[in-house]
Symmetry: C2
Subunit: 335 residues, 2 copies
DNA sequence: TTGTATGCGTTATCAG
DNA sequence: CTGATAACGCATACAA
């Protein structure tokens, strides 16, 4: 493979001049530039990114650590983040953490090998106790709920307000016994806890008593868990006329479970989710949900990270960004 | 940031000894090793991957070019491919091509900048005419349908046989007027053409005449397109009792469209898709489909690529791998 | 078992 | 406007 040296020789100039041409430096005479470009074409020259990285101390790649690219919400996020990096000419390398605290911490230290110029980290396993570990000397943006007031920039979802709006919507549609299916609840600042808070706030505002028997914690936020749990609840004699699901994924399972029970949605029970995944619009019945503006979250995360990368350590403090949301009313709550 | 030199100084040895320790070379006395490890820990030493890459001529990263990580089938594939690279200690960087020929060719030449050790490329936009462009001097594995007998390794889906089995299944369940919704049909070797072939073969075997009026080409293989087209077909007076959809994504839309028309599935019309995406099991009705063994495809693609990377150019010829499939019968075809 | 010399390909700096 | 020099951090080959 041709190197800058080869091109220089072929063009009858010094390697430095070739470098100038490659990097679009001004002060290069037109005729020289053309000579060089010709030689480059003839030799099919390609820059060696590894060498450039070594010299510049940058890799041009950022890491994105998510539980799994194939999970509905994270897949969408990954797609948007990759799209958002394009305008900066940055590439994205994906690490799958499986939502485990261990792997999230690993991703954090992998980046320290100067593999990436920065890291966007979805914290699902890590909790507030791990805040100390975030004190690293390279750019990090946290995407998720479990770390607040950490030492780094943070992009979060409108969990409490969104959930409150979702629950409120069920109440407006006439529901009085509203079940909530959450994922695992931990230390007060995970997604499920936050969304439960919104749920409670909405009930309180409406003067509806909170009934612990209607609030269930799933082992995992999957379709299967949603389907199984809703059937078990009804089999156990639970009485509800509305269900707020912690994610659309769970809601898909709940719709399935209710169908198995022969319960009509929305006539007998109304259902709402959170995330606005693409298929919600096409389910039967179509799924009402909260749309947390993924595009904005992705864009913001990338912009924050790039700002840190460019400005190195010069940006003081850290930023907390919570995206806006909108309620999407579809058939599962009566349209 | 500490370098090998710093560690060497701190440990009172030469830089080379540190390197030996880092790379687990034998012939290092235990006591020396420990001295070095101690110094590394004290200085919080991290290898500089860029430097190592330059020296070794490898980057430890492969590229994965897919239309979009968020599309059902490709997201799943990406997740599996990333998982499959883990055992090799390789990272995956994702390029989104948007299914455009241009961007696919770009991905191909980007890799030539020695950014990646190899590339897994989903060809959707590129066609047989671009085969020449695949003659590159670094490892490439094609994942997709449109390139056959190219100069590189190729992992493909069982499109014809799978589609044939899907159509055959509808026939077995009593369908006689079977519609087919495909994506864009191009040059005989794209997914849609291949799946159409399977469809025709099944009809022929069963002695059912091929009716062009029942075969429709969608502008894009989306849920929306599926829903709209099936409604338009029925509005136009089309008469069918079964639908074979080119992908599960389209099938989800079709189920929705049929619901809009008040047509009962599977009683009046039976529906089957292709891909076995996760949500199929939880739809109402649950979706019958062809499962092309994604895990095997991902594993195979990674293994083939790694073989090329390790063996450099030493592997002769190229391999064509077509995965096996299984039929998943669910409610949409009568269980 | 450990150390020395050298170069991977590029670019920053500064001189011409 | 162009070029000489040096250095980024590491690992191969070989010598001691």
């Amino acid at each position: 493979m041709a190197t800058i040296q080869d091109v220089a020789k072929a063009a009858g100039v010094s390697p430095m001049t070739v470098s100038h041409v490659i990097n679009d430096h001004p002060h290069v005479r037109k005729s020289t530039r053309e000579k060089v470009l010709l030689a480059m074409a003839k030799l099919d020259y390609r820059v060696n990114v590894a060498a450039r990285n070594l010299r510049k101390g940058r890799t041009g790649t950022i890491g994105l650590a998510v539980p799994e690219v194939n999970r509905p919400y994270y897949g969408q996020l990954a797609a948007l983040i990759i799209a958002a990096t394009e305008k900066y000419g940055i590439r994205v390398s994906i690490e799958q953490t499986g939502a485990s605290r261990e792997n999230e911490l690993d991703a954090l230290s992998l980046s320290r090998n100067r593999l990436y110029d920065g890291l966007i980290l979805s914290t699902v396993g890590m909790g507030p106790k791990d805040v100390e570990r975030l004190k690293v000397d390279y750019p990090v943006v946290i995407l998720g709920e479990r770390i607040f007031d950490g030492p780094v920039d943070h992009v979060a979802m409108p969990n409490v307000d969104g959930s409150r709006a979702a629950t409120r919507h069920l109440i407006d549609r006439g529901c009085r016994r509203i079940a909530m299916l959450s994922g695992q609840v931990g230390d007060e600042v995970d997604v499920s806890s936050l969304r439960r808070s919104g749920y409670r706030l909405a009930l309180e505002s409406a003067g509806i008593p909170y009934d612990p028997a209607l609030v269930h914690e799933l082992g995992s936020s999957t379709m299967r868990a949603g389907a199984e749990r809703i059937r078990a609840m009804r089999d156990g004699g639970a009485d509800f006329d509305g269900v707020f699901c912690v994610t659309d994924t769970v809601a898909v399972g709940v719709l399935r479970g209710l169908a198995d029970l022969g319960i009509r949605v929305p006539d007998e029970v109304k259902v709402i989710g959170f995330d606005n995944v693409e298929e919600g619009e096409f389910l039967v019945p179509s799924l009402s949900t909260i749309d947390p503006d993924h595009v904005m979250m992705a864009t913001r995360a990338v912009d924050l990270l790039v700002r840190r990368i460019e400005g190195s350590t010069s940006v003081d403090g850290h930023e907390e960004f919570v995206s806006h949301f909108s309620l999407v009313a579809r058939e599962s709550t009566g349209g």
